[in-house]
C-alpha cells in the first residue's frame, strides 16, 4: 500500500508519519509537496500535523486552498482513504471533507501529553484491527483541538457511528461529547487530534497507535 504524505509549508509531523509508516511491512510512503496536483499511484493519503501556513488566519484555513487539496478532494470523492492527524484533521474540516471545527483548547494552553482514547466504532477501515471499546494510549499535542459542532451535526455523527475515537476519563481540551476523531459518512475520510504516529515505537512509551495503521494495511 502506497501512502502519500502531504507536505504544506509549516507541516512538521510529516517526517514522523513517514518514519512510522515505513516501520510496517507492506507500507510505502512518500512526500507530496502541496503545490503538486497529482496523487496518481497512491493508495492512501495522510495529511500530517504541524502548523501549515503558520496557523495564520485560522488553523487549516489557508492550507485548504493549496493546489493539492483539489486532488485530495477528488481522491476522497472516489472512495480513496484519507487520514488527517492534528493539523491534518483541522485542514480536512476547513476543506469540508469532515463536519465541524477545531477551536482553542478549553484552558487556552497548548497541551502535549498522553491521553486515553476509547475506540467507539471498530468496523471502519481505520479501526478494524482494534477491539470495540479498546482503550488506546496515544499522545495529543495541540492548542486548538477542541472539537465543536452544533447539536444536530453531533447527533447525526453519533447516529451514523462516525465518532471513531473519544477521550476516555479526562477530556483534555473541552471537545463536544469528548470527541477525539470522526470519519465522514462514507467512512473513507478520518480525522483525529491525537498522534498515532507518536505511539508506534516501544521506546516512546506506547505502541497503541499502530492499530490505526494496521487497520489500513489489513
Amino acid at each position: 500500500m502506497k501512502f502519500a504524505v502531504i507536505q504544506f509549508p509549516g507541516s512538521n509531523c510529516d517526517q514522523d508519519v513517514i518514519h512510522a509508516l515505513r516501520s510496517f511491512d507492506g507500507a510505502e510512503a512518500e512526500y507530496v509537496w502541496h503545490k503538486s496536483e497529482s496523487l496518481d499511484g497512491f493508495d492512501a493519503v495522510v495529511v500530517p500535523g504541524g502548523f501549515s501556513f503558520g496557523d495564520y488566519l485560522r488553523t487549516g484555513a489557508i492550507a485548504r486552498f493549496s493546489p493539492i487539496m483539489k486532488s485530495v478532494k477528488n481522491f476522497a470523492a472516489n472512495g480513496g482513504v484519507v487520514l488527517g492527524i492534528c493539523n491534518g484533521f483541522q485542514i480536512l474540516c476547513e476543506a469540508g471533507l469532515l463536519p465541524g471545527a477545531l477551536v482553542r483548547n478549553r484552558d487556552l494552553h497548548f497541551i502535549c501529553e498522553h491521553v486515553k482514547l476509547r475506540v467507539e466504532n471498530a468496523e471502519t477501515r481505520f479501526t478494524k484491527a482494534a477491539q470495540p471499546g479498546a482503550l488506546l494510549n496515544i499522545p495529543i499535542a495541540h492548542g486548538e483541538g477542541c472539537y465543536f459542532a452544533d447539536d444536530a451535526t453531533l447527533d447525526e455523527l453519533e447516529r451514523n457511528n462516525q465518532v471513531l475515537v473519544r477521550y476516555d476519563g479526562v477530556n483534555p481540551n473541552g471537545s463536544c461529547r469528548n470527541i477525539a476523531g470522526i470519519c465522514n459518512r462514507e467512512g473513507n475520510v478520518f480525522g483525529l487530534m491525537p498522534h498515532p504516529e507518536r505511539a508506534c515505537d516501544p521506546l516512546l512509551g506506547s505502541t497503541d497507535g499502530r492499530v490505526i495503521f494496521q487497520s489500513l494495511l489489513s
Binding site: D16, F53, G54, F110, R198, L204
Partner: protein
C-alpha cells in the same frame, strides 16, 4: 535625510567610551560617520564582542579528540558522536528582551539559537531551556509581575518551538528574589549532521555573490545587542522597540530552504543574522574568510519604506540569513527560495580588500576594515574585588524545624515542585525522539536519522554561586554530569551561559572570574570541553544584581537503549540504595532558604575524584542491568530526592520506607543536607546484595536505605526517629503548586 552630528553625547549614547572612539578613528584614519558609529557600537557591545569577558573565557578548555569545530570558530561548536555523525549545540540568553516583552523576548531567543544551529549545516532536533524568575507565590505587585513574566516566557518558548516543530524536551526553572525584574531566559538547541555537512561562516571566493535570504528587514530590534549590554532600569520599557518580533513559520521555511540549499552544494559560506543583524553577518563572514564584503542596501528586501542605512544595518529583524554562493550557481538559490516562497536577493559580492563596504546605490555609507571591526574590539580585564572568605554555616544558629513540615514545604517551593505545568505546554514529542518525559534527571532523545541516543541536561544552583562562585560553578558542571550519569549517559561536551551583573562593578567581575575559573577546572576534570556559549552581563534590576548564574548544558551519549534510566521508582519491593555518603552540609541549601529564609554559609565542597567514582559506579551498574531508577541528591537533599522518585511515577505514586543511622547528625541535617556526589538508586530485592558488593569492590561508599512500597506513605526513620508523610499530601504539594499559583 542628513545624519546627526557626532557629538560626545551621541558617542556616549552609543555606549562608546572616549578611548574606544579614539581607537575607531585610528582604525578608519578619519572620523566615523553616524552609521559607522552605530555599526561599531553594536559590534563592540559586550553581546557581540565579549570585550569584558573574552580574557576570562580563554581559560576554558575547548579542545579534545571529539571536537570537530571549536568554540568561537563558528556559530556553534561541533562534536563527533561516531559513525560519521556529529552534533552542533549551544546555549544562548534572551534575558533583557524577555524582561520587557516576555512572549516575544523568549520566542525570538528560541528562534535565534535554532538559526545558530542550522547555520552549521545541522538539522535542529531538540531544545532545552534554563529559566529564572522572581518569586511567584505572593499577592503583591511584584509576584504578579513575576507570574506574568513566567507565563509569557513559557508561552513564547512554546509558541516558537511548537510551531517550528522542534521538541522542547527538558531544562530547569528556578525562582528567587534576585531575579525579580530581571528574569533569565537561557535557551539551548542541538542539531545533528554528518561530518562532511559542516557548514562554515566565511565569505570565501573573491567575486562570489552574496545573497540575503529570509524575512524582510524592518525597524524591529534596532540595536538590540547594545540594549542587551546595559542594565535594566525603570526606563527600559522605552526600549521595547529593541525587542524583535518572531515568526516561527518563516523560520521553519528558512530552515528547510537552507538545509536544502546546503545539500545542493552551492553554498560557499553561510551566517545567520542574529544580534547586530546585517552588520554582524557581513563583517564576520568577511573576517573569517580573510576577505572583504560589499553590499548595496537598496537591494535588501525591506518591510518598511524610508529606512535609513543606520536602521537597515542595525535592525535585528528575525529569520534572515546571509549566504555566499559559488559563482555561477545563483539559479539554485532562486529555485529553492521560490519553492519555499521566501524572499531572497543578491545584495553584493566577496571582495579582496578586507573591507566591509556598504553602499546605498552609488553612495558608500560604511567602509570599515572587517577584521578590526569583527575581531579586534578592545578587550578589558576589569577590576575584580578582593576575594572574601565565606564563613561556614554555624549550625547552632539554625533552629531544628520539624521535618514533617519542612519536606512538604520544600516540595511545594516552585523551584523544586513539578514543572509539568511548563512542559505540558511544550511539544516535547515531535520528531519521535523523547524517550524520557521531561522532569527526569536528564532529557533523553533518540536521533532517528543517526540511530544514536543522546542525553542532555542544564544545571546551575545560583545560591551556591552567590555564596562562592568558584565552588558553585564547579558544582554546576558536576551536577550536570551526574544527571547524565543517572540517565545512563557518558558526557561528551558542554555549553555555558554566563549570566552576571554589570562587570564594571568589582564585586560582579570577581564573581565572573571565579565562576569561569571554577567551571574551566571542572570541565577538565570531567573531560567535557566547552563548545561555545554565551555571556550575558548587566543583569541588574533597579534594586541589585542577580545572583551569579553560570548555567551549563552538558550533552552525552547512551550506548544502548537498555541503559536509558529514569528517576522514578518502578516497583514495590525494590531495594533503595544510596550511592555516596549521608552528607552533612547545610550551607547555601534550599532547606536553609525555603524553611529558614536564609541564603548563607559556604556551599558544599566538591571532591572531583569521589564525584567521578560515583558517576562511573552508577553507569557500571546501569550497564549491568542492575538499576531500575537513579536520581541524584540536589536541592532539598536526600529526603527530596527520595520523595521525587516516589512522586514521579506515572499514574499512582509509589511509597517508600527507609531507615538509617547517622553519626550524631540532626534529623534535618540528615534529611536535607546538600553534600555532593550522592545518587539514590533502586534495584530489585534480589540484586541488592550484588549491587552493594560491587560498590564496595569499587571503593564507593553505599548503603541500603530501605525499600519501595505500595503504601500511601513515605516513611524515613533517622536514628530511630520515624517521620511519616502521606503520599497524597506530598503529591499535592509537589504536583499542583505551580499550576495553582499560575491560575490564581
Amino acid at each position: 535625510m542628513s545624519d546627526p552630528a557626532i557629538t560626545p553625547e551621541v558617542i556616549a549614547k552609543h555606549g562608546i567610551t572616549p578611548d574606544e572612539y579614539e581607537r575607531i578613528k585610528s582604525i578608519l584614519g578619519r572620523e566615523p560617520n553616524f552609521t559607522e558609529l552605530g555599526v561599531f557600537s553594536v559590534m563592540w557591545s559586550e553581546h557581540c564582542s565579549y570585550k569584558n569577558s573574552k580574557l576570562e573565557l580563554k581559560k576554558f578548555p575547548t579542545t579534545g579528540p571529539k571536537v570537530l569545530v571549536k568554540a568561537g570558530e563558528e556559530n556553534a561548536g561541533v562534536i563527533d558522536i561516531g559513525d560519521g555523525w556529529a552534533i552542533a549545540f549551544k546555549m544562548e540568553s534572551h534575558n533583557h528582551p524577555s524582561a520587557v516583552e516576555p512572549f516575544q523576548g523568549a520566542a525570538t531567543g528560541v528562534g535565534g539559537i535554532i538559526r545558530d544551529i542550522f547555520t552549521m549545516g545541522a538539522r535542529p532536533v531538540f531544545s532545552l531551556n534554563s529559566l529564572r524568575f522572581g518569586p511567584i507565590d505572593g499577592d503583591d505587585a511584584e509576584s504578579k509581575t513575576n507570574r506574568r513574566l513566567f507565563a509569557g516566557v513559557v508561552s513564547g518558548i512554546a509558541h516558537y518551538g511548537n510551531c517550528i516543530g522542534i521538541p522542547t524536551i527538558g531544562g530547569e526553572v528556578y525562582f528567587d528574589e534576585s531575579y525579580s525584574g530581571n528574569p533569565l531566559v537561557n535557551v539551548f538547541n542541538l542539531g545533528i549532521l554528518r561530518h562532511e555537512q559542516i557548514a562554515r561562516g566565511g565569505a570565501v571566493g573573491i567575486g562570489n555573490p552574496v545573497f540575503y535570504v529570509g524575512a524582510e528587514t524592518g525597524r524591529d530590534g534596532l540595536a538590540g545587542a547594545a540594549f542587551a549590554s546595559r542594565e535594566l532600569t525603570e526606563e527600559s520599557k522605552e526600549d521595547r522597540p529593541a525587542v524583535q518580533v518572531g515568526d516561527p513559520f518563516r523560520e521553519k521555511l528558512l530552515l528547510e530552504a537552507c538545509l536544502e540549499l546546503l545539500a545542493s552544494g552551492c553554498v560557499a559560506g553561510i551566517q545567520d543574522m542574529g544580534a547586530a543583524g546585517l552588520t554582524c553577518s557581513t563583517c564576520e563572514t568577511a573576517s573569517r574568510g580573510g576577505t572583504g564584503v560589499e553590499i548595496d542596501l537598496n537591494l535588501v528586501p525591506k518591510r518598511e519604506e524610508g529606512m535609513t542605512p543606520y536602521e537597515i544595518l542595525l535592525s535585528e529583524s528575525q529569520e534572515r540569513m546571509l549566504v555566499i554562493v559559488h559563482k555561477g550557481q545563483e539559479a539554485t538559490v532562486r529555485e529553492i527560495f521560490e519553492k519555499w516562497d521566501l524572499p531572497y536577493a543578491q545584495i553584493g559580492e566577496v571582495k579582496d580588500d578586507g573591507m566591509m563596504r556598504v553602499r546605498e546605490g552609488d553612495r558608500v555609507v560604511v567602509e570599515i576594515p572587517a577584521r578590526q571591526l569583527a575581531d579586534e574590539a578592545p578587550l578589558y580585564s576589569r577590576e575584580a574585588a578582593p576575594k572574601r572568605e565565606i564563613p561556614a554555616l554555624d549550625l547552632a544558629t539554625v533552629p531544628e524545624l520539624d521535618p514533617l513540615e519542612s519536606l512538604p514545604k520544600l516540595l511545594a517551593h516552585p523551584s523544586i515542585a513539578s514543572k509539568r505545568w511548563v512542559w505540558r505546554q511544550y511539544d516535547h514529542m515531535v520528531r519521535l525522539g523523547a524517550t524520557v518525559l521531561p522532569g527526569s534527571d536528564a532529557a533523553v532523545f533518540v536521533v532517528r536519522e543517526a540511530d544514536k541516543i543522546l542525553a542532555a541536561a542544564t544545571d546551575c544552583n545560583a545560591i551556591y554561586c552567590r555564596q562562592d562562585p568558584r565552588e558553585g560553578a564547579r558544582i554546576a558542571v558536576a551536577e550536570c554530569c551526574r544527571n547524565l550519569a543517572c540517565s545512563g549517559a557518558v558526557p561528551l561536551a558542554l555549553t555555558d551561559n554566563l549570566n552576571f551583573g554589570n562587570p564594571h562593578k568589582p564585586e560582579n567581575f570577581l564573581q565572573l572570574r571565579e565562576a569561569v575559573e571554577g567551571m574551566a577546572e571542572a570541565c577538565r576534570a570531567f573531560d567535557t570541553p566547552v563548545t561555545g556559549g554565551n555571556v550575558s552581563l548587566y543583569n541588574e534590576s533597579p534594586i541589585a544584581a542577580i545572583d551569579p548564574t553560570p548555567t551549563v548544558g552538558v550533552v552525552g551519549l547512551i550506548a544502548d537503549p537498555k541503559h536509558i534510566t529514569t528517576s522514578a521508582f518502578k516497583q514495590a519491593g525494590d531495594a533503595i540504595i544510596l550511592i555516596g555518603d549521608l552528607g552533612h552540609e547545610l550551607g547555601a541549601s534550599h532547606y536553609l532558604k525555603v524553611c529558614h529564609g536564609r541564603k548563607e554559609g559556604a556551599p558544599p565542597l566538591l571532591d572531583y575524584s569521589h564525584e567521578i567514582e560515583v558517576h562511573n559506579a552508577v553507569r557500571a551498574l546501569i550497564r549491568l542491568g542492575l538499576v531500575r531508577s537513579a536520581h541524584d541528591c540536589s536541592e532539598g537533599g536526600l529526603a527530596v530526592a527520595v520523595a521525587e522518585s516516589c512522586l514521579a511515577v506515572e499514574g499512582a505514586p509509589l511509597g517508600a520506607s527507609l531507615a538509617f543511622t547517622t553519626n550524631g547528625l540532626r534529623a534535618d541535617q540528615a534529611l536535607f543536607n546538600e553534600s555532593q556526589s550522592r545518587i539514590v538508586i533502586s534495584t530489585t530485592r534480589g540484586n541488592a546484595a550484588a549491587v552493594l558488593a560491587l560498590l564496595e569492590w569499587r571503593g564507593v561508599p553505599a548503603r541500603r536505605l530501605g525499600e519501595v512500597t505500595d503504601q500511601d506513605s513515605l516513611t524515613i526513620t533517622v536514628d530511630g526517629r520515624a517521620f511519616d508523610w502521606k503520599l497524597a499530601s506530598l503529591h499535592e504539594a509537589w504536583a499542583e503548586t505551580i499550576g495553582r499559583l499560575m491560575s490564581s
